[in-house]
């Protein structure tokens, strides 16, 4: 990891890298090996823990854990939009550094919220990914958490959003994959 000098943070050495391990070689995962290692078969999804209301400071919040993906989500809003003169509908603003995940989650949620009930307002949805097991897993778990947080906040919605990822390894379809599997596709 190349650390750029950021005067707003405590900085470490100019240059550091992740440790390199002697044994990087790993066996390719067949469905049987997958079942042994992950304790579930190829077509099962990972067990989910979803809890709303853990963040007391937010209007609505949710925390989701799917095996090794842990995401906390909080919703603030509807808040007054500062920079829109006249806006017929509310805008949902997911602002984050990782725009690809944010945009994907926004697309998933946009049609479920009754934005016409919140003129000139913004509904802010913030996600913190505490532990990630693959980008697609983050998008899926993040959408579920965000939808639950919106419901916890009492925002008018048409329904809840659920999401799942699936991938193919050697012609077989597998659900809710983990990062180590994606590397071998």
């Amino acid at each position: 990891m190349q650390s750029v000098f950021d005067r707003r943070r405590i900085n470490g050495p100019e240059d550091s890298s992740a440790p390199i391990f002697a044994d990087e070689h790993q066996k390719s995962l067949t469905p049987d090996l997958y079942k042994d290692r992950h304790n579930r078969s190829v077509s099962d999804i990972r067990p989910i823990f979803l809890q709303p209301g853990l963040i007391s400071q937010a209007n609505g919040s949710a925390y989701i854990e799917t095996d090794r993906t842990k995401i906390a989500c909080s919703v603030y809003g509807p808040r007054q939009s500062k920079n829109t003169a006249y806006n017929e509908k509310a805008s949902e603003g997911p602002t984050s550094e990782d725009r690809s995940i944010a945009v994907a989650i926004q697309q998933a949620l946009l049609s479920s919220v009754r934005l016409e009930h919140f003129p000139k307002s913004t509904i802010d949805i913030f996600l913190v990914i505490i532990e990630a097991d693959g980008i697609e897993g983050c998008v899926a778990s993040g959408s579920i958490a965000a939808s639950t947080a919106l419901a916890d906040a009492g925002i008018d919605m048409y329904g809840l959003v659920t999401s799942c990822t699936a991938g193919k390894i050697s012609g077989l379809i597998q659900h809710k994959k983990s990062f180590s599997m994606f590397r071998r596709m």
Binding site: S56, R68, A72
Partner: protein, 327 residues
């Protein structure tokens, strides 16, 4: 109060008809807190109680019900070398330690690095927005850096090969829920995360000029190791707020924090000896005793306050030690 409510919101009567009597009272109280936060807090403190039900630390009442419940959970984040999640009441901080390899500095060629940082994301409180670290985050990071850099982790223990290779520990704390006293929670999270760290066995190969690590379970002759920690220098922080120059509030919540004029932090080690003290603000009200050698009285009152904080902190430290060392 009723006229304020009914004139401001013409449809209040419609909303109120759906609420029970208890809910209406709660709504009035919440509105009052929003409009007059200072008076709201004063009314509680006059009855010797705080809005969340805890006691204040006055002379008769030096028990530990003035502090919020602490919960600590370590080792749940597998992508880190060590991690901890700490809850101080509602304040929630998660901390992860990432161990990376780097070259040591020229003038400290046998030392590694410890880099703590606190992140206050927009998620944790309505007062934060997205963007670069705010002043508050920077101040927190700096204070934590000073406290942790005290020698708790001897930097020489992070050296792999003098002059060539050393460990750098990035200790990153993220606040998930900001309900006051983030400094105490973040410090506890960092300390617990560091205690949880497991470094893989690392060997520097001078011919290849590279450091090679061994995965923990793959070779039993090269096991992973825990960090070397100087137990006498492990810091634990206990913070207090002073409200209106007279009330001492241990472990303030977010709503109390915004009304405090002074914050006092006492940092103790595992044997309840003082490692550091900090006071931000004037402390006790000096205007209490006019004419009669004001300076002397205020000095004794200030010293009293500080002494009280120290004794309360020591009492609380015993409770925290059980939590930290039993996890």
């Amino acid at each position: 109060m009723d006229t304020v409510l009914s004139s401001a919101t013409p449809s209040a009567t419609d909303v109120n008809s759906f609420l029970s009597a208890a809910e209406k009272e709660a709504l009035k109280a919440a509105t009052f807190q929003r409009l007059h936060p200072q008076i709201y807090l004063e009314r509680f403190l006059e009855e010797k109680i705080r809005p969340d039900g805890r006691s204040i630390a006055d002379d008769e009442n030096e028990d530990t019900h003035a502090w919020r419940n602490v919960e600590v959970n370590v080792g749940s984040i597998t992508t880190t070398s060590g991690s901890a999640l700490v809850r101080l009441g509602n304040t929630t901080v998660v901390c992860g330690v990432k161990a990376e390899i780097c070259e040591p500095e020229l003038d400290n060629s046998d030392e590694g690095f410890l880099v703590p940082n606190v992140d206050l994301p927009a998620l944790c409180s309505p007062k934060f927005k997205t963007g670069p670290p705010t002043e508050e985050a920077q101040v927190l990071s700096e204070r934590l850096n000073e406290v942790l850099g005290n020698g708790m982790i001897p930097l020489s223990s992070l050296c792999i090969y003098p002059g060539k290779s050393a460990w750098v520990l990035y200790v990153d704390a993220t606040v998930i829920n900001y309900d006051g006293n983030v400094f105490d929670a973040a410090l506890l999270a960092m300390v617990c995360a560091l205690k949880n760290v497991s470094l893989p066995h690392a060997e520097f190969n001078p011919e290849l000029n590279r450091t090679i690590c061994t995965r923990p379970k793959s070779d039993s002759s090269k096991p992973a190791r825990k960090l070397i920690i100087e137990e006498d220098l492990v810091p634990l922080s206990f913070s207090f707020g002073v409200f209106a120059g007279s009330y001492l509030l241990p472990d303030p919540t977010a709503s109390e924090e915004s009304l405090l004029d002074t914050t006092i932090s006492i940092i103790l080690n595992t044997r309840a000896r003082i490692l550091a003290l900090s006071q931000l603000g004037t402390g006790v009200d000096k205007s209490e005793a006019p004419g009669q050698g004001v300076a002397d009285i205020s000095h004794t009152r200030e010293a009293d306050t500080l002494a009280r904080c120290i004794s309360l902190a020591k009492k609380r430290q015993a409770v925290i030690m059980k939590k930290v060392y039993d996890t």
